[in-house]
């Protein structure tokens, strides 16, 4: 569908596509195979200003909105979901600062991320707290002009590679979910180490590690907003970042659909390309339709956020939910269409299928996402009555 992007958006999308096709495409299989973090590609993206997109202008950024970010993530994901998530998680990592940080904090951290000098990451999840985020146990005890952190974060994207971490910790366990706070912790702070790099099913070029805090002293200035705001910061951050996961799912599905179409037109069986077989055509039709529907939802959500909508928790959740489930279906079908070849690592679709799975899981499993949506739907009904 023609989305009538502005000149600026077209330039942005075109640039992201160029980087994806010229730089990422030749190395994506190798990076996936070797589970290597794409530092060279990050540098390329940085020198093309791609990392400036999501930083406000006052802090050396280009002041792009959610939609701009989605356009970039989608183009990168079309070629490689693993590289795209390294980019997107970086944006996620600074989002709490952009939304709630003080001017001093923004001045300190944002320009460095804009230039690509340092990467960021966002950390909430722990071994005991996945969907049940309020069950986090990492504590931050106030001691003079520092907080002392103890605990472990799990499955953190960009963990170990990023240098700026926005972490949600318990500053006052007695207050329950109102006792959490968000802090910036920098790599290299004594008492802050990393666990081993996780071996994943997909997005293997992205780095996923535990963050280990042992009496890690963090200056009080690193507190984002106020004590007790931790989960609000987290929730508002995720509301804005979920369309990005949706965009990642869109891109992966788009790449898979294109691969399936190309293959179907070349693969000859029974004297005809398999694209002539109705069974295959129907699969392609379903894939294309769902993808388009998901795109419409993700784009509409991104645009409503940028236009200043006051609340968008439900839409954001829906966009992520629908797009990720769609991506899993589309990539699975793509493998099916390529059949035997699709199962082989010589062809790109099995990786796309492996990459798509995580979109149904992170930034809220789709089950917890459904809970959130249901709550909003019921709230609405309750309000109407």
């Amino acid at each position: 569908m023609e989305y009538f992007l502005s000149e600026q958006q077209k330039t942005l999308k075109g640039l992201a596509r160029r980087i994806a096709e010229q730089r990422i495409l030749p190395v994506r299989a190798e990076l996936d195979e070797r589970e290597e973090f794409p530092w060279d590609l990050i540098k390329e993206m940085a020198s093309s200003d791609l990392l400036r997109v999501f930083i406000p202008e006052e802090y050396d950024g280009l002041g792009g909105g959610t939609f701009d970010l989605c356009l970039v993530i989608e183009e990168l994901s079309r070629i490689c979901g693993g590289i795209a998530i390294s980019y997107a998680a970086n944006a996620l990592g600074v989002l709490p600062l952009i939304l709630y940080g003080s001017d001093a904090q923004k001045k300190k951290y944002l320009p460095e991320v804009a230039s690509g000098a340092r990467l960021a990451a966002f950390a909430v999840t722990e071994a005991t707290a996945g969907s049940d985020a309020s069950a986090i146990r990492t504590s931050a005890r106030r001691d003079g002009d520092h907080y002392v952190l103890n605990g472990t974060k799990q499955f953190i994207t960009n963990g170990g590679e990023a240098e700026i971490y926005t972490v949600v910790v318990m500053t006052d366990a007695a207050k329950g979910s109102r006792g959490a706070s968000a802090l910036v912790v920098e790599k290299g702070t004594p008492g802050f180490t990393f666990g081993k790099k996780e071996k994943k099913m997909g997005i293997r070029s992205s780095a996923t590690r535990e963050l280990v805090f042992r009496d890690c002293r963090v200056p009080v200035e690193n507190l984002i907003s106020r004590e007790g705001m931790g989960f609000i910061v987290a929730m508002r951050t995720l509301d804005r970042s979920r369309p990005g996961v949706g965009a990642q799912a869109l891109g992966i599905a788009q790449g898979a659909l294109e691969a399936a179409v190309e293959y179907a037109q070349q693969r000859v069986q029974f004297g005809h390309p398999i694209s002539a077989i109705q069974a295959v055509q129907h699969m392609l039709a379903n894939m294309a339709t769902e993808l388009e529907a998901a795109r419409a939802l993700v784009y509409a959500t991104a645009r409503t956020i940028d236009a200043g909508a006051k609340s968008f928790t439900e839409e954001s959740a829906m966009a992520k939910l629908f797009a990720s489930d769609m991506a899993m279906r589309v990539t699975t079908d793509a493998v099916q269409i390529l059949a035997g070849a699709g199962y082989m690592r010589d062809y790109p679709v099995e990786k796309m299928m492996r990459d798509a799975k995580i979109t149904q899981i992170y930034e809220g499993t789709n089950q917890v996402i459904r809970n959130a949506i249901a709550l909003e739907v019921l709230k609405r009904k309750a309000r109407q009555e």
């Binding site: 000149e7 600026q8 330039t11 942005l12 640039l15 160029r18 980087i19 010229q22 730089r23 390329e44 020198s47 093309s48 200003d49 791609l50 400036r52 997109v53 280009l62």
Partner: protein
């Protein structure tokens, strides 16, 4: 170092059609782009400018639409761009093109090095580089795949030859053509691209260049295209039928008869 890079805007896809009525190329609605081999020249030029804190001027000869390519060059980092355009230039062969470029470069004034791509993907002659050098009266080296040293008044380059490579020293000012192996062109930055979109592109015509229209373009080019046609395969494809063994027998027989093997 003052570097001049000559680029050409070409069709992005090379599948072309001839209008059956007029016998001329159907060029409407075709996406145009910077000739891919020229990107390597452009990138090398920008790198030299960055290393020597110099200046890059990018020239192109073409119709008004060619300004899009110059805008892209700005996105890459070109300091100055100039479009050489005039109805009189149309129908130029490579001799005419190189003379027009030479006039423009002389008008620009001082330059140390001119960089060109190996050849264009449409004309594919690879002639403009050497002809430009001769028209400027400066030395020329082709197929450069690495610049080894840049100094005051000289350049040392590695070039590809029939047997391998040659290390050549050339005095400056001079002209070189470069090959893909020389670098990996950067991806322009967003800010560069956005600024480029707003840029005003200067245009020099025949009068600005003091060129007599009769000496260039279709009027003055030494060579002329007498006819353009689709290559006709003298015979239609012969599809060999039968079992694999039979097909192999048939092809070997055909190739033997044609003395190909």
């Amino acid at each position: 170092m003052n570097v001049v890079v000559c680029i050409k805007q070409v069709p992005a896809k090379i599948k072309i059609e001839i209008d059956p009525k007029t016998g001329t190329l159907r060029s409407g609605g075709v996406d145009r782009a910077i000739n891919p081999p020229d990107l390597y020249a452009l990138e090398e030029g920008i790198r030299i400018k960055e290393k020597t804190k110099g200046k890059v001027t990018v020239l192109t000869m073409g119709p008004a639409k060619a300004d899009e390519s110059l805008k892209e060059a700005i996105g890459f980092g070109a300091d100055e761009v100039i479009l050489l355009s005039d109805p009189a230039f149309e129908g130029s062969d490579t001799w005419s093109t190189s003379h027009i470029l030479a006039k423009a470069i002389k008008k620009i004034g001082q330059f140390d090095l001119v960089l060109c791509g190996k050849q264009s993907i449409d004309g594919e002659t690879g002639q403009v580089g050497p002809q430009l050098a001769e028209a400027l009266g400066v030395p020329f080296v082709s197929l450069v795949n690495r610049i080894e040293e840049l100094g005051e008044g000289f350049i040392k380059v590695m070039r590809m030859s029939d047997e391998g490579h040659q290390l050549i020293e050339m005095t400056l000012p001079g002209v070189i053509t470069v090959v893909k192996e020389i670098n990996v062109p950067r991806i322009p930055s967003l800010r560069g691209l956005m600024a480029a979109k707003k840029a005003k592109i200067p245009v020099w015509n025949a009068q600005d260049l003091e060129i007599d229209p009769a000496t260039v373009g279709s009027a003055g080019s030494p060579t002329r295209v007498a006819k353009v046609f689709f290559p006709q395969r003298t015979q239609k494809s012969e599809m060999l039928q039968g079992s694999p063994e039979s097909q192999v027998e048939q092809i070997v027989e055909r190739l033997r008869q044609a003395r190909a093997i």
